[in-house]
């Protein structure tokens, strides 16, 4: 571990992923990955295609069971719990390819998430307020299937927020958004994190944005954590450049 403590928010760890390993029919997708997420921290998770980011997300969210290793959420071992239990405990996720309930309106989508979700009173607001927050107020009564990519991504966020989470797993929220929208996403996440005591793990390929939005970055390659630290440090790391670009470009 590069051992950089980004800010004091990290001191109390909300989510602790420890030595997680996952094999798929002989292939090693994750090889002993550990990471900690602090309270109100926004952690970037990056790595080239096939590095194991999605696998890690799926393991935290309960969709996959790790071959070995543990996931601890606020001191409680949640390894191998089914996704619905994980969500009710307070970990929400978005999908890289948006998976809304297509035939329902935007508001219904959010409403369902709110009414099941964590089972507590929503700390973010009513479904309508959440739609407003993510900028879908005037599209609230449209069917989710009719939204454009950016709208669907916003809906993903709204749905995740409606479950009243403590930890938010964001998967490529900015891909498909315009640069201005992307800037909005960065500001929005920062605001959410501060106002609602939210910790975020953020996977994003639009690095320009990600690097502005996160406090700390973890880099995966071939299922192994190859770097961790502040964005500007990580970018100049030689291993990272090798993994990303196949070598130093210029």
């Amino acid at each position: 571990m590069t051992g950089v403590v980004a800010d004091n928010a990290q001191r109390d760890t909300v989510l602790d992923v420890s030595l997680v390993r996952k094999n798929f029919a002989g292939l090693v997708a994750l090889d002993g990955v550990s990471l900690q997420l602090g309270r109100k921290e926004i952690l970037g998770l990056i790595g080239p295609n096939g590095a194991g980011k999605s696998t890690l997300f799926n393991i935290i969210a309960g969709t996959l069971k790790p071959t070995s290793g543990t996931v601890t959420f606020r001191g409680r071992n949640i390894t191998g719990l089914p996704p619905n239990r994980v969500c009710r405990l307070g970990i929400a996720r978005t999908y890289q390819i948006p998976k809304p309930f297509l035939d329902m309106t935007v508001l219904e989508n959010v409403y369902i998430a709110e009414s099941f979700g964590s089972g507590r009173d929503s700390k973010v607001g009513t479904p309508a307020e959440i739609c407003d927050l993510v900028g879908l107020k005037d599209k609230m009564h449209l069917e989710a299937g009719m939204l454009n990519v950016s709208g669907k991504k916003r809906l993903e966020v709204a749905r995740a927020l409606a479950t009243s989470p403590d930890v938010l797993l964001l998967d490529e929220i900015a891909a498909g958004m315009s640069p201005t929208e992307g800037e909005w996403a960065v500001r929005f996440m920062e605001k959410m994190s501060q106002s609602y005591d939210l910790s975020i793990i953020w996977v994003e390929h639009v690095m320009r944005l990600l690097m502005k939005g996160v406090h700390r970055v973890v880099v995966l390659d071939h299922g192994v954590k190859i770097a961790e630290g502040r964005p500007e440090e990580v970018v100049n790391d030689e291993k990272v450049q090798q993994a990303y670009l196949g070598g130093k470009l210029s």
Binding site: R88, K99, G117, K139, L142, M146
Partner: protein, 323 residues
């Protein structure tokens, strides 16, 4: 919860409720002004409405196609008959027990079967119903192949009509309540995207099993009421795959997942079957087959599904792309 959802939907109670109550009132007074033959036609039409609707409660709301649906009908019929004959309790109580037995069976098999998807689930359920048929046919506890007859002292066609009307009405009402409840919301989410549903905290396994059990309960009630009317029950009639297939065809023709759909489907198909059955013996199978083929090829969503999607389309055109 219900309140919040209704806010989202802005239900029009006058438009939504009045026709149903009207239909119920007409049907309730029907025995006083229609002939016995029409009453009997209506009775079995109500049975098919109840059956296609209880089929719809599970398959329409979850998207899992239950090809062994008749098992619930048969178990309800047997449950009703056997409790009636052995315990000598009022017939409505026996019917409820039949429904409960069928429901318990559904819960028992939900764990292994609901893990299966698509064609596997369909084939597994089909085989399960066939296995039940063979087992009942050989099982002395249920009087094997001979089955049971309901004693003539219970014969009362008007009362039978009202019971069937009650079963159909309660089944339709139950579907309405489910669709507007937390359970319905969860099922709707599961049907549209099970993965997302689970990711927002919905326990899909549990809700599916509940829907399965409710569907079985009402199919069992209908089976009990039908057995009372038909007066005999034996394995070939109780576990007749044709019943499953007819219920599927009816709800599919009308539109799975809608309230009015299975009712419309039942009215159309049962009328056709009754009409051709009376006049052209072999032709009704041919007509039936052609209708199914035409529906699949031309209106795969069923009549109500087609109407709804047309309404949506025209609304979309009003709103314009992306509103």
């Amino acid at each position: 919860m219900l309140k919040g959802y209704l806010l989202v939907h802005k239900k029009n109670f006058v438009r939504d409720v009045v026709p149903w109550v009207g239909a119920l009132v007409v049907l309730a007074f029907a025995p006083y002004f229609v002939s016995a033959s029409l009453r009997s036609f209506l009775l079995f039409l109500l049975m098919w409405i109840a059956l296609s609707q209880s089929f719809n409660i599970f398959t329409g709301l979850t998207g899992y196609v239950n090809f062994g649906f008749v098992a619930f009908y048969g178990l309800g019929g047997y449950g009703m008959t056997m409790t009636l004959l052995s315990l000598n309790i009022p017939i409505y109580a026996a019917m409820v027990i039949g429904g409960v037995i069928s429901s318990l069976f559904a819960f028992a098999i939900s764990w292994p079967t609901l893990r299966l998807r698509g064609a596997y689930f369909a084939i597994a359920m089909l085989s399960l119903a066939q296995a039940l048929f063979v087992i009942f046919d050989n099982w002395n506890f249920v009087n094997s192949a001979t089955g049971y007859t309901i004693p003539v002292k219970y014969y009362d066609p008007v009362l039978q009509y009202y019971y069937m009307l009650a079963v159909a009405a309660v089944t339709v009402l139950c579907l309405y309540v489910i669709m507007n409840s937390r359970l319905g919301l969860a099922l709707k989410a599961i049907k549209q995207n099970e993965e997302t549903a689970v990711s927002i905290g919905i326990n899909a396994t549990f809700y599916k099993a509940v829907a399965f059990g409710i569907s079985a309960f009402f199919a069992g009630l209908a089976g009990g009421a039908a057995t009372w009317t038909i007066t005999i029950i034996d394995p070939p009639s109780a576990f007749d795959t044709t019943i499953t297939l007819t219920a599927i065809s009816m709800s599919m023709l009308g539109g799975l997942g809608t309230i009015a759909g299975p009712i419309i489907g039942a009215v159309i198909l049962y009328s056709i079957e009754h009409y051709f059955g009376l006049t052209l013996p072999y032709l009704h199978l041919i007509v039936f087959g052609i209708i199914i083929i035409v529906v699949v090829l031309l209106i795969p969503q069923g009549i109500m599904g087609e109407i709804i999607s047309r309404m949506k389309k025209s609304r979309r055109q009003e709103v314009g792309e992306e509103g």
